[in-house]
Structure formats: structure tokens, C-alpha cells
């Protein structure tokens, strides 16, 4: 919503193709949601006060509100805790709806910058979380500088990168995959 804008959602923008896209991207049982609210009652996003949280996101998805969902960054604040999946009485796997919206968003470059940072680290080092100064920290715990992961095995890392190049990352990464 624009700052100072009027608070009304135009339902004529409801887009069946967007619903289809989300269903193909993993939210296959989306349409069965009965908006009972169970997921929203204990979702950390809702408790923390994000404007869009699971119940609303699922509903907006069933209405096919593409622009609203892709512009709002709330889906990226989902904890992936899966409590919604555990409690949803219709087994629609609400968390998969979040992921489907994210998947649709990255395809149109509508995601927070730190998403790319994680992907870049994952590709370059094999680790999405790759904080500076780890060598020092490892020394304190009496461990060798580098862990025996993809970081230490260049051959393996190259193979891993080849695997990643065989995914959609190849198309959407805003950084060179070499």
C-alpha cells in the first residue's frame, strides 16, 4: 500500500493464473483453505505483528492478489517453523503457500537483498551463512580453522556448484555463476 494511500483492496485484480502458478510452485492444496484461523493463532509472524501473516497470506493467495503478495515482504519474515503445517485442519500445508509466494517473487526479482546474499554465499562457499571471523572463533573452541565441509574440499565444492547451476538459480541469480 502506498504511503498515504487509500485503504481498499481492489478485488477485480484477482488473478486465476497467479493461483495456478502458486499451486504449481508447491501450494497444491491452497484452494481448500476454509479460513478457520488456526494457523494465524500461533504463527510467529502474526504474533510478532507483521502486517501480512499466514492466514492473510493464504487468503490473499486464494484470491489471486498477485501485486499485493509480491510487493509485501512479509513472506520473507516467515520462520519456516511449520507450526501452521502441524495444526492446519485442512492439511493445506500453509507454509508451502509462503514458499510458493517466495518462489513466484524471486522469479520477478521481488525479494529482499539478503536473499541474494544467502544464495551468493551458498554458491561460492557452499554455506548460506558465512560470517566473518569464524577462524578465530573456531580456534577458541579448539577446532581447526576450516570445517571439513564443502569449504575445505574444492573438488566437491565445484561439483556442488554444478548441481546448483542445474537449477533455476542459473536463470535468476543476479551474480555470476562461475
Amino acid at each position: 500500500m502506498e504511503e498515504g494511500g487509500v485503504n481498499v483492496i481492489d478485488l477485480t485484480q484477482s488473478d486465476e493464473n497467479f493461483i495456478k502458478e502458486l499451486m504449481e510452485l508447491g501450494a497444491d492444496e491452497l484452494k481448500e483453505c476454509i479460513q478457520c484461523g488456526k494457523c494465524g493463532a500461533t504463527c510467529p509472524m502474526a504474533l510478532a505483528g507483521l502486517e501480512f501473516f499466514i492466514k492473510r497470506i493464504v487468503h490473499a493467495a486464494t484470491l489471486g492478489l498477485r501485486d499485493i503478495l509480491l510487493e509485501d515482504s512479509s513472506v520473507w519474515g516467515c520462520q519456516s517453523c511449520n507450526r501452521c503445517v502441524e495444526v492446519c485442519p485442512m492439511d493445506i500445508k500453509p507454509y508451502e503457500v509462503i514458499q510458493a509466494v517466495r518462489r513466484a517473487a524471486v522469479r520477478v526479482e521481488s525479494c529482499p537483498a539478503n536473499t541474494y546474499e544467502g544464495l551468493r554465499n551458498l554458491y561460492r562457499f557452499g554455506h548460506a551463512v558465512f560470517p566473518k571471523g569464524f577462524e578465530e572463533r573456531r580456534k577458541k573452541a579448539g577446532l581447526p580453522e576450516k570445517p571439513p565441509t564443502a569449504l575445505s574440499f574444492e573438488e566437491m565444492r565445484k561439483k556442488y556448484q554444478e548441481i546448483l547451476r542445474n537449477t533455476i538459480l542459473e536463470e535468476i541469480a543476479p551474480f555470476p555463476l562461475t
Partner: protein, 317 residues
């Protein structure tokens, strides 16, 4: 339904009870003599939460709406509020379903008495707090926010279920159960009390969740249908039924288990075993006629000659 399926609602806690149990607590002939006491310590609860759709509208248990819970939750709230106006009551609904004569009025009246209605709010968790209170966590669609409330007693409106053994009972007279395990009527609108088995009628919750007025109406309809069958003193058959030409029958018995109405049995005819279709039971579905390898069964109204003639007429054009 037992509360123990619903682990997210702390079912091990004695103050989490079902509506049936609550009904007993409210009853003058119940274990507390009608006095409101909570099970754990016998004290009178000051705050009560009631949770709807527990096991109903739920793919993991029952997809159907149990139909009566919204109303009896309101009824419980009303009784409580009339008797103990100081008690705080929170009713958690997904939707408040009060369709029907006088029901909406009842809903509004209960609200006027001061019961708090939370909608769009299937409860997600009941936490046990160290002070013995229960924290109920739901969602309020009207506030557009998660909500929580600490209460002394939690009442779960658990689903109406078909009783054990219905399937077995039905199979004794070829009545079948639907997906949800209730006995199936022949047609929802046109034959609401009739079953597959002629002469067997159903009424009440064995056919699906329903309230008292509806059960009574259905029971009266079933009684009338029975009377209509019995009073003339004779039974009229369908005109379109199947019949065995016993001279052609090879006694293979293929048709016997196929008949959904158990109308076919093997009887002796000219010293041999032959199939026989009981006209009073045959519903004219024609399954046997199409399966008979000896073409010994005639489906009246659809004889081989008639069907061949139809095919000829169609192919000529």
C-alpha cells in the same frame, strides 16, 4: 469424540472437557447435581472458553460440519449467563452457523447476555499455566489479530460421529454408509429417509449430524413411509426388473454376488440348481443382465431385441 485426539489443546488436563461432559455438569441429575464445578478442584470457574469445530470441518477427522455445536455452545453460554451473570465466557467460532427459525435471535440474545464471541478463530493451542489456569490462543478475524485469554475451564465442542458398528448394521440389510460413515439415504432431496434396502428407513444422527427438531421431523417421515408401505397389505413391484430364463441358466452363479440388493439366490428347478431373482427385492439396476454369460437374464424393458433394434435404428441414420 474424545478430547484425547487434540494434543494441541492439552487434553491431559482435567479442566479441558468436552461439551457432552459439560452438559452433564450443568444437568440437575449430573455428577455435581447441577452445580457448576470444575473437575480439577471442584471450584466454580470464573472464566470459561468454549471452542467450536473440534474434529469437525477437519480433514484429519471429519470434514463435515457437525451442525449442532454452534447452537448448543450458545445454549450453554446462555444457561450460564442467566444463572451466573458474573462468569466471563468466550466462545471461539470459525463461523457462527445459526441458520433456521429463531436461531439467529438466540445468538443475538446470548450476546446481549454478555457472552463474548470470537470469530474466524479456530483455537490453535491451550497452554497449561503454572497457576492452574489455561491459556487459550486463538485468532480474531474482526480484530485481525491473534488473541489469548486465561481461563479456568475449557469446553471442547467435539464432533458428532457415527457410532461404532453402523457399517456392520447397514450391511445386514444392504444399506451402505457414505464416506464419513453415516448410513446413506437414497437421494438427499427426493428420498431422504429411504435406504438402498426397500422397506428400511432411517432417521436421526445415524444418517448425519442433526439437531432434535430435525431428527423428529425425519423420524416422522420415516414412520409415514413405513406406514405407506405396510397399510395396503400388499407390495407393489417395480415394472422394470430382471428375470432369469431358467432353461437357459447354466448355474454359473456369476450374478449372485453382483446384485447390490441381494435379490438373487440359487434355487432348485427341474432337479437342477438355477438362479432366481426375487421380484420384491430387485430394484431393476440391470447389473445381472449385463453380466450373465449365458444371456439367461432378461431386463424387462431393455431386452436384447429391443436394444439391438435401437442400435440398428441409430446406425441407419
Amino acid at each position: 469424540m474424545s478430547k484425547h485426539h487434540f494434543k494441541e489443546y492439552s487434553p491431559h488436563h482435567p479442566d479441558v472437557i468436552t461439551s457432552m461432559e459439560f452438559e452433564r455438569i450443568l444437568s440437575a441429575t449430573g455428577p455435581t447435581g447441577g452445580e457448576l464445578k470444575r473437575p480439577s478442584d471442584g471450584t466454580k470457574p470464573k472464566t470459561i472458553a468454549m471452542i467450536s469445530c473440534v474434529g469437525s470441518r477437519d480433514e484429519r477427522y471429519h470434514r463435515y460440519c457437525s451442525k449442532v455445536c454452534c447452537m448448543y455452545m450458545l445454549k450453554h453460554a446462555r444457561i450460564l449467563k442467566e444463572k451466573y451473570p458474573d462468569i466471563k465466557i468466550f466462545l471461539f467460532f470459525i463461523d457462527v452457523r445459526t441458520a433456521g427459525k429463531d436461531f439467529e435471535e438466540f445468538y443475538v440474545y446470548t450476546k446481549e447476555l454478555g457472552a463474548k464471541i470470537i470469530r474466524g478463530g479456530r483455537v490453535s493451542a491451550v497452554d497449561v499455566k503454572p497457576d492452574g489456569k489455561l491459556r487459550v490462543r486463538g485468532f480474531d478475524v474482526d480484530l485481525c489479530s491473534p488473541v489469548e485469554v486465561s481461563v479456568d475451564l475449557v469446553v471442547l465442542a467435539t464432533a458428532i460421529e457415527p457410532p461404532d458398528g453402523v457399517e456392520e448394521l447397514g450391511s445386514m440389510f444392504t444399506a451402505t454408509c457414505g464416506r464419513e460413515g453415516f448410513l446413506r439415504e437414497v437421494h438427499t432431496k427426493l428420498y431422504p429417509v429411504e435406504t438402498q434396502a426397500r422397506g428400511v428407513f432411517i432417521a436421526g444422527c445415524v444418517q448425519g449430524p442433526k439437531d432434535i427438531p430435525e431428527s423428529i421431523a425425519q423420524a416422522r417421515a420415516a414412520a409415514a413411509a413405513t406406514a405407506a408401505l405396510v397399510i395396503p397389505g400388499k407390495i407393489r413391484f417395480e415394472a422394470v426388473i430382471s428375470e432369469v430364463d431358467r432353461d437357459k441358466c447354466s448355474s454359473c452363479g456369476v450374478c449372485v454376488p453382483l446384485c447390490p440388493y441381494t435379490a438373487i439366490r440359487i434355487v432348485e428347478y427341474k432337479g437342477k440348481e438355477k438362479a432366481y431373482i426375487e421380484p420384491a427385492l430387485c430394484a431393476g439396476c440391470g447389473v445381472c443382465a449385463s453380466a450373465c454369460p449365458s444371456r439367461a437374464i432378461t431386463f424387462h424393458g431393455f431386452t436384447t431385441e429391443q436394444i439391438m433394434a435401437q442400435i440398428d435404428a441409430l446406425t441407419e441414420a
